[in-house]
Symmetry: C2
Subunit: 121 residues, 2 copies
Amino acid sequence: MEKRREEAERCECMHVHEDMIKEVHAHMPDEEQLADLADFFRVFGDTTRIRILYVLMCSEVCVCDIANLLGMTQSAISHQLRVLKQMDLVKNRREGKTIFYSLADGHIKSILSQGLEHINE
Amino acid sequence: MEKRREEAERCECMHVHEDMIKEVHAHMPDEEQLADLADFFRVFGDTTRIRILYVLMCSEVCVCDIANLLGMTQSAISHQLRVLKQMDLVKNRREGKTIFYSLADGHIKSILSQGLEHINE
DNA sequence: ATAACATATGAACAAATATTCATATGAAAA
DNA sequence: TTTTCATATGAATATTTGTTCATATGTTAT
């Protein structure tokens, strides 16, 4: 029976109160904000990007210096810098042939620190 | 020529000072910490997990209530709760057949808030 | 014991992602 | 103008990831 099949995946328990359901929905960010939040944190979810951010914490650096510092190809770094730029975590500035990248936002450092705090218990 | 090929990907510029290179490496977390950091933030990089965390901010809830609240299958929620648990973001407690989940850590809320702050500029 | 229910989990699949390779762009130097 | 160099980008590929489906585990009630 179809009905049984549908219900197979749903459990019927309901420990939660009516007003709690309302509270949850009241505090839940809307779909767009949720997506933006996830996108934002996903950027920090890659060691290459985190390394780049740590480099930029020290100083403004050009793409190829980052590549050399991290021992990776220019292309890989460039692709990741684009991701970081799209998320407004870094900004850049041209000087002749060279393009210098720097942190766009002061509290990037504090977000990474909080992450470190957590993983070090 | 092999040499040309190798160098094709590496640029030779070096705007960076010697002591800067040292400073970068001094401040850079080691490989293990980088991986842990990335793992930690990647957990926040999915809307389902973020939604679960927002639910748990309101109260301790059982798996199937979360599933019902979010309109998702029990299995999907269970898989994600495992991820959250592995990362020590949630804890659980058994009461008969039911297993109640709750936030493991107070500063999860503050991390999400910082994320929201950033995306709202 | 057996049935019923809440949760967990392994396998399979589709979608997203990071890197590489080859090449394009854009600026300075020759 | 042509070459050179720093950077960007599109396509291809391998890996990771989220969900589903089917089923296992573990607890309570019958």
